[in-house]
């Protein structure tokens, strides 16, 4: 187990290293110098040079890359070009919107998908199953931002149950904040729940074909007992993998959904950074998202190896 964990840890670090190089390289290609962009067209050359110095834009690409990476390792993400505050501050202010949103959506998606997938599997081939499969097929095809727009029309504009957008801030009260994240979370969760329910169903059906289920039925268990006592636990393995993967989709999806609901999260921060040529913000936020995704994948892998010794031998 320790050997497996350390091998995975090395590959995790290599992935992060490679990711940081790719992100840095891509962002470096952005045409236009942030310093001259910030100072406008009529800026003096020496002013621009001074600002470049101040922003840490001087020096070779390699030096700047190492400054960036070593800084990040110490929690220093640099200083935003436009806001003139540490990037870590900007990220900290916004991550408490994007992260809860993704977790909220993941929870919703799981809560919806489990019973739905289970019912479909238990009713295989019957009308309920067909209906559920058709509904999930539709759910997979719906773009979440479009669904979000109609959620706003129905629940915010017509029924006035929720606000159409914006975020009050956690200081204004926990439930108020949760409430403002509810529509975005539903919009994010629906397509993911459809995917998860389908996987849940097929995973249970796969386990139902196994010999040990036949044995369980032969010794007199009902179909329901066989599912709850034996099939469910084994069917969870692929389902958990997908849940781990969905976290990354949800974090990325949150970026788009934040735009629909005007939520000041990481997604808005990236878009502002892009339009204002605030490269350091863009780089750091993207790196953070990639870090989150790679780490979650790593933890899921580790969790499996702990549960299922067969997986350690890869």
């Amino acid at each position: 187990m320790l050997r497996f964990a350390s091998i995975r840890l090395v590959s995790l670090s290599l992935s992060l290293l490679a990711a940081s190089i790719v992100i840095f390289a891509v962002v470096e290609v952005i045409p236009g110098d942030p310093a001259s962009y910030m100072l406008g067209m009529n800026a003096q050359e020496d002013t621009v040079a001074a600002l470049r110095e101040q922003l840490g834009l001087e020096g070779s690409i390699v030096t700047r890359y190492f400054t960036w990476v070593t800084g990040m390792l110490q929690g220093d993400f640099g200083t935003s070009y436009t806001y003139r505050v540490p990037v870590s501050e900007l990220i900290l202010a916004r991550i408490w919107i994007s992260l809860p949103l993704a977790v909220y959506a993941l929870a919703l998606s799981t809560i919806i998908a489990f019973p739905v997938g289970l019912i479909a599997a238990a009713q295989r081939g019957k009308a309920t199953d067909t209906g559920i499969m058709a509904a999930t097929q539709l759910g997979v095809a719906v773009p979440n931002f479009w669904f979000a727009m109609f959620l706003v029309v129905i629940f915010a504009i017509k029924l006035r149950w929720f606000s159409a957008g914006g975020f009050p801030g956690w200081d204004e009260g926990f439930w108020l904040s949760i409430k403002s994240l509810t529509l975005p979370a539903i919009a994010l969760a629906l397509p993911q729940a459809s995917i998860l329910a389908r996987i849940m169903r097929s995973s249970i059906l796969d386990t139902l074909d196994q010999d040990y289920i036949r044995t369980a039925r032969a010794k007199g268990l009902t179909r329901r007992q066989a599912i709850t006592r034996h099939a469910l636990r084994n069917a969870m393995i692929p389902v958990l993998t997908i849940i781990g993967m969905q976290f990354s989709f949800l974090l990325a999806g949150a970026i788009i959904i934040e735009n629909v609901f005007f939520l000041p999260g990481l997604g808005r921060l990236i878009f502002q950074g892009i339009t204002q040529r605030d490269l350091i913000v863009v780089e750091s936020v993207v790196m953070l998202l990639v870090f989150a995704v790679i780490t979650v994948t790593f933890l899921v892998d580790l969790a499996y190896a702990a549960v299922d010794p067969r997986l350690r031998r890869r």
């Binding site: 931002f145 479009w146 504009i157 735009n259 998202l289 994948t297």
Partner: protein, 273 residues
Amino acid sequence: MRLPRTLILGGGLFAVFLAAALVSFLWTPFDVEILNIPSKLQKPNAVFWLGSDHLGRDILSMLMVGARTSIAVAIVAVGIGIGLGLPLGLWAAANHGSWLDEVIMRGNDLVFAFPSLVIAILITAVFGPSALNAIIAIGIFNIPVFARISRGAALSIWTLDYILAARVAGKNAVRISVEHILPNIANLLIVQGTIQFSLGILAEAALSYVGLGAQPPTPSWGRMLADSQTMISFAPHLALFPGLAIVFTVLGLNLMGDGLRDILDPKIRRSRR
């Protein structure tokens, strides 16, 4: 052989949008680049079948041209995925266990680790928003998908007796890959191709929704949704139709993928029942 219902239904749905896209090259009810402010924001009626937008453009015509954008972006993105991913996968399989295989597969893992939409946003933001950059951004993430699937399938075929026979006959790895492996994994590629196609349509819609896809005046479904957002409370039809176009195209492709898999992959056909 009886065709699966999913294939007929899905194929039919997709064919409608494909036909709309093709017809739009020759004819659309109205010119989508000409503004007609006096007849703005009309509800669906006899003249404007699906209504008109805030600039008086015909929604149906815009949807038809938008279908062109969506389908073209997704097709080329799948093409990039197959064009680069397939040779890489075959190459890795032919050199199974060597450092080359390792490098290709680890590179794939790396691309998989990235949240694709975030990187697509980054790429289109850096190189400027355009349909071409959207294609590249979506296409890059198709490469590892096809590399992995063709490597996996090819590996199992490499162990078969007729490959051994071909090697004894003096064929090299490239010829074996092209003449014997490729025809045997084509089914899988077609099925995966439809899935990636539908994902590509969704990704293109998301990118153009945030303004990073095809640029105006070229109509695109995502862009139409973004434009309609501020008017949705009094003109919901502006948001309804482009959204439905996306849903039905993606649904059609997904059903088609399911149907094709039922026909082309006997293993899955048996286990599915």
